[in-house]
Symmetry: C2
Subunit: 348 residues, 2 copies
């Protein structure tokens, strides 16, 4: 899922996202709550209508962002008090408040408000945090069930269509806690499950180990979503383990810093070796950037600070990631997840 933090995948018009084949994009509740505000989004008919995006959307709960505001937030059983990174104003997110905001914005998939356990953390502290996330998951589900008909498009789309609230597994870097968290989250019961609290500084091997332990418990017939990963080789690896959904700012953020993902590896487009390189960013890629522009031109745009640099780099990186996921689906359809490779080269 490409990340559209503030109701826009940075620099990329929605029709271009459609052309790229993006089926679902992610919005960040913390950021959208601050700007433009969920009440405005509700009054505009919800996020789909506000940003003119008819395909699927997912919003996170805001949990990860407010926990990242170290020094600006205070956590207790009720929820999280935090100060806006924009103007220092005080706000409170509780499980109920997060769900209220996410109902107002009306994404197709919304997420339970969880505590992303800090890393490193001992077993006892991680268990306490996991227990609170489980209590919060219950509160989220209760609030959602009581208020789900308040989604702005409720009457327009019919009662059979509704938002899906996913639960989130925590448990830090402990396989036993991951399994227990998964088991007890499944007992609460959600139409899909996320694995949170990863990619927080641990080794990649540890990430893989925690995902594998959690997947042992999560039901195969429900979507399983690893939040906030990752590099192309990671997403193919996790898909091979059985992960169905992932999101990451990497393809878009790296693009704005001039880092391109290609079938030949990562390219730092500002490198002087590209100054006269007439080749496309990725010879194996079929995207409209690779079909039209040279590395030399993209390097010039980036070095000169032209806004088109971010636009074109982002379009290519999203094409590369979405091609990677198409290759994953193709391998799965062939019944051979071990054949999954990243990038468009595997489409050849």
């Amino acid at each position: 899922m490409p990340v559209g933090t503030l109701g826009s995948v940075k620099g990329v018009p929605q029709d271009t996202l459609e052309e790229l084949g993006a089926q679902i994009i992610l919005g960040n509740t913390y950021h959208l709550y601050l700007r433009p505000g969920h009440e405005l989004v509700r009054s505009m008919g919800g996020l789909h209508k506000f940003m003119s995006w008819e395909r699927a959307m997912l919003t996170d709960s805001g949990g990860f962002q407010v926990f990242s505001l170290s020094g600006l937030r205070k956590i207790n059983e009720n929820g999280v008090n935090f100060r806006s990174h924009l103007d220092g104003s005080s706000h409170l997110f509780t499980p109920e408040r997060s769900i209220e905001i996410q109902i107002a914005m009306g994404a197709d998939i919304i997420m339970a408000f969880d505590e992303c356990t800090e890393h490193p953390a001992g077993h006892g502290r991680t268990r306490d945090s996991m227990e609170m996330t489980l209590r919060w998951a219950r509160r989220c589900k209760d609030h959602f069930e009581a208020h789900k008909q308040e989604v702005p498009w409720y009457s327009a789309k019919g009662p059979e269509r509704q938002q899906a609230l996913f639960g989130i597994v925590q448990g830090g870097m402990y396989a036993d806690l991951r399994r227990e968290s998964a088991q007890r989250t499944v007992e609460i019961g959600f139409p899909g499950y996320a694995i949170g609290g990863l990619s927080v500084g641990e080794s990649r091997e540890k990430t893989r180990e925690m995902i594998a332990a959690t997947l042992e418990v999560l039901p195969e017939d429900k979507p399983r979503y690893v939040m906030g990963v990752g590099y192309p080789e990671e997403i193919t690896q996790y898909a091979a383990l059985g992960v169905d959904m992932m999101d990451c700012v990497l393809p878009t953020r790296a693009a704005r810093h001039g880092l391109l993902f290609t079938s030949e590896g990562r390219l730092n487009i500002k490198n002087t070796r590209f100054v006269q390189d007439q080749g496309p960013p990725d010879p194996a890629c079929k995207c409209k950037v690779c079909a039209r522009y040279s590395r030399a031109y993209l390097r010039h745009l980036f070095v000169a600070g032209e806004p088109l640099a971010g636009v074109l780099n982002t379009i290519h990186n999203l094409a590369y990631y979405l091609d990677t996921m198409r290759a994953v689906r193709h391998a799965i359809n062939l019944g051979d997840p071990s054949g999954i490779q990243s990038g468009s080269v595997s489409m050849a």
Copy 2:
């Protein structure tokens, strides 16, 4: 002509410019000379190939930009010594050097190197400046005739296709000097003529008066180009006077500052009155921005500093300007230049 200073119309991919119907875009020789450098552009096969733009291009001479570097430049009969605004390095533009650079970049239309007379300036000083521009025009033409076969695409496109060097009329705010400059520029002989040195702080009535005086002398069967104008109502007015070509950074620069040109007048999109405005930027506009996005969404993007704001605002403003020129051509085809109006509303 949309302005693509550094080989890119800021934030807008080339395929979008094609969809908008842009037939010709402008590049700035001063900026392209500094970054990426004309020798690099030449080695890439010229500016068309470098930026992947097959339609027409025009480069200015660099004169206007170097004269704008007050404090950083020194003018004498030979040319202009200037320091780069990027790194302070010293450079010399002469008429011959400007033409050499423009041949290397290979735009379809290139411009003589002129002195843009400062404003205000007395009659004597304006005449001296005009005389130097005429001597420089001769030098430009001589250098171009001697070197025009050095354009990078010379062998690829056949000898019958070549660059067109346009002369530039100066003469400040004096109608007699404007007419004399035009007469003597025509005597040197060019396939097209520009009117330079306007929009430098004078009243709009003075601009119109200088254009009208110059057009009395310039041949009707050659393109007549007013440089660096203007607002939509200006470009329709000048077209009605007989002007064939104009360029301006206004639609693109204003867009990046949140100013939209519409059939209902200018909109400052960050205005709070648009916060819940579900209407399109311009109800009379058929562009892809007006077809899809609301003023409320564009306001949010702009206020939140999202890069998509500049992209979408620029696409709309270019659509508005290009629609204005389509309306101009339509009125001319009907034989009724007095019916020329600005913007898409006149297309209805």
